[in-house]
Amino acid sequence: MQTRRDAAILWLFLILPVGYMVAFVGYPVVYNLVMSVQDVTLGNLATWDRPFVGLGNYVELIANERFRLVVRNSVIFVTVNVVLQIAFGLAIALYFENRFPGARYMRGLFLAAWMLPPLVIGALWKWMYAADYGLINYVLESIGLSDGPIYWLSNPDIVLAAVIAANIWFGTPFIMLLLSAGIANIPRELYEAASLDGAGAIQRFRFVTLPMLKATLLAVACLATVYTMRAFDLIWALSQGGPIDASNVLPLYSYQLSFEQFRFGGGSAVATFSFVVVFIVALLYVRTIRHEKAM
């Protein structure tokens, strides 16, 4: 039993960060929601007194072909990122789970990629993607994989893949380490038992690693989704969402609508749309970590 004061302190500790988040994120979200149902122009931006347009901004958005393209891009961007980050992360994690000299140390080195600010990564990859003097085209051409420059950032059929590749490079190490943690928590006896039962490496992966990792995988997938939906700096530096929005995603599109085309209502509506999606994923994530807790 604690004294009243001690209990109050504990609650204060809880309320501090939660209150902080509500004040500095909750309020902006609400503010954004309000703007999304208003006709906002530069002239009335500084006041609260703006014409109410109901769902007009949303209707306009849904009718907009470019918005649909951006939604499609976002879905591809997030899905491919999450799937491949987890796939590569799992592969790397499993490889370095082998006991060989330097395994632990090398595994840690991967995280160096994650340590770089996304903006720097964007600039770096843009430079490597350069069609005529870039590293990547040179490598591909010299090993015979392509016979002319690939216009990574100018070809709308390729640019999204290029942006995704850069983001995968950035995000995988962190995912890999989280998965390593999950793998480390699998009791070794299970593998021994499986070996005795005659399971080979692939079967052990299929029947021991994967099922034991399910909860971790789910949590990591949610986390990766949320962090991928956030991607902004990297795309901003790499392609600015272009050409013709072929690599544009929701946050960037929202930012561009508001700050480049003065369409604040539309920008806010895009933001609200993303918020809803993010909200659902976040709830899923919370559910999975709570399940894990119960286990």
Binding site: M1, Q2, T3, D6
Partner: protein
């Protein structure tokens, strides 16, 4: 040193009541063991005495002062935890002197107190070590040392030996008892191990499902258990219970076990003929002797000192702890004779001693 009085204490977690009104009086300097199966509420009660759980209703007083609303630190108690709860980032000396540090004691005082306690517990060489560098028994001692340094009115022990191996448990048992005899501080000790309770306690409190079943000195409880639960809980192997009916006629009384066999009774309680009852006899009080009730051996377990023979008697199996060395075999029939002085009869419905 102080008496601890527990008066009609109840504890509810939400809508679930786990203690249903507990009364215990612990005298100054007494070593009291709360014993019972897991979930009986003994640990909860101990934690309420410590101030780690709130009291739903009733009163707990230490040294005549009601402590219901006092935080742990104001109760002048010390506690030894099941997992020792040593601070892993502090050395042995720091662990033991932590309470003094919180009081703002000087370095010398802390050092003195820590070495004093270490001396008592034979930890002198380990003061600079960290908990992770200690064996289980050593950790246990440090936890006790931490309690000793507090010089409290009451020591609380929460299953302190359950993480130790069997041999160590036995030696720690005597150490704790020796410690008590030396310090003469009131001790409330929680365990689920009835042997610990029997060997250490001045007074045992048997708890079950949130109520106190019986309070008394160890042998008193052993010899005259108040009910079926206490009878079955204390003693190992535990008391045999046979369901049957009392047959009293003239000066002779017998117990007719369901299924046919008959066992002798010392005296029949008045007007009890035909009364259904439970016949209790401890394994060591069953002898194999000619003229006894015939039983078929089901299982033979030699323990070294004695041989435990499980035999079928009527509808029930009974265990007899036999001292006589001979090759009993399953399927063999032996005659069993109860020591009449140690026959217990219990009411079938209430479980109370008759």
């Amino acid at each position: 040193m102080a008496p601890v009085n527990i008066r009609d204490v109840r504890k509810a977690f939400g809508h679930v009541e786990v203690l249903h009104g507990v009364d215990i009086d612990i005298e100054d300097g007494e070593f009291v063991v709360l014993v019972g199966p897991s979930g009986c509420g003994k640990s909860t009660l101990l934690r309420m005495i410590a101030g780690l759980e709130s009291v739903t209703s009733g009163d707990i007083s230490i040294d005549g002062r009601t402590v219901n609303r006092l935080p742990p630190k104001a109760r002048d108690i010390a506690m030894v935890f099941q997992n020792y709860a040593l601070y892993p980032h502090m050395s042995v000396a720091e662990n033991m002197a932590f309470s003094l540090r919180l009081k703002g004691a000087s370095r010398e005082t802390m050092h003195e107190a820590a070495s004093g306690a270490a001396g008592i517990l034979g930890l002198g060489d380990l003061l600079a070590r960290y908990p992770r560098e200690l064996s289980g028994g050593q950790r246990q001692r440090v936890a006790m040392g931490r309690a000793i340094v507090r010089d409290p009115k009451v020591f609380l022990f929460d299953e302190p030996l359950s993480n130790l191996d069997a041999k160590l448990r036995v030696s720690m048992r005597s150490e704790i008892k020796a410690l008590h005899q030396r310090l003469r501080t009131t001790i409330v000790y929680v365990t689920h191990d009835q042997i610990e309770a029997m060997t250490m306690a001045d007074k045992i409190v048997v708890m079950h499902d949130g109520v106190v079943e019986q309070i008394g000195e160890p042998l008193e409880l052993y010899d005259r258990p108040a009910n079926l639960f206490v009878a079955g809980f204390l003693g190992s192997p535990s008391m045999n219970f046979l369901n049957g009916t009392i047959r009293a006629g003239g000066d002779r009384a017998e117990f007719e076990v369901d299924g046919g066999a008959r066992l002798p009774l010392p005296t029949a309680p008045a007007a009890s003929d035909g009364r259904p009852a439970v016949y209790g006899i401890r394994p060591e009080h069953l002898l194999s002797d000619a003229g006894g009730t015939d039983a078929e051996i089901v299982l033979v377990e030699p323990t070294g000192a004695e041989i435990h023979v499980v035999a079928r008697l009527g509808n029930d199996d009974v265990t007899a702890a036999l001292r006589e060395r001979r090759p009993y075999r399953a399927g063999e029939r032996i005659p069993l004779v109860p020591d009449l002085e140690h026959v217990h009869l219990f009411d079938r419905d209430s479980g109370r001693r008759l």
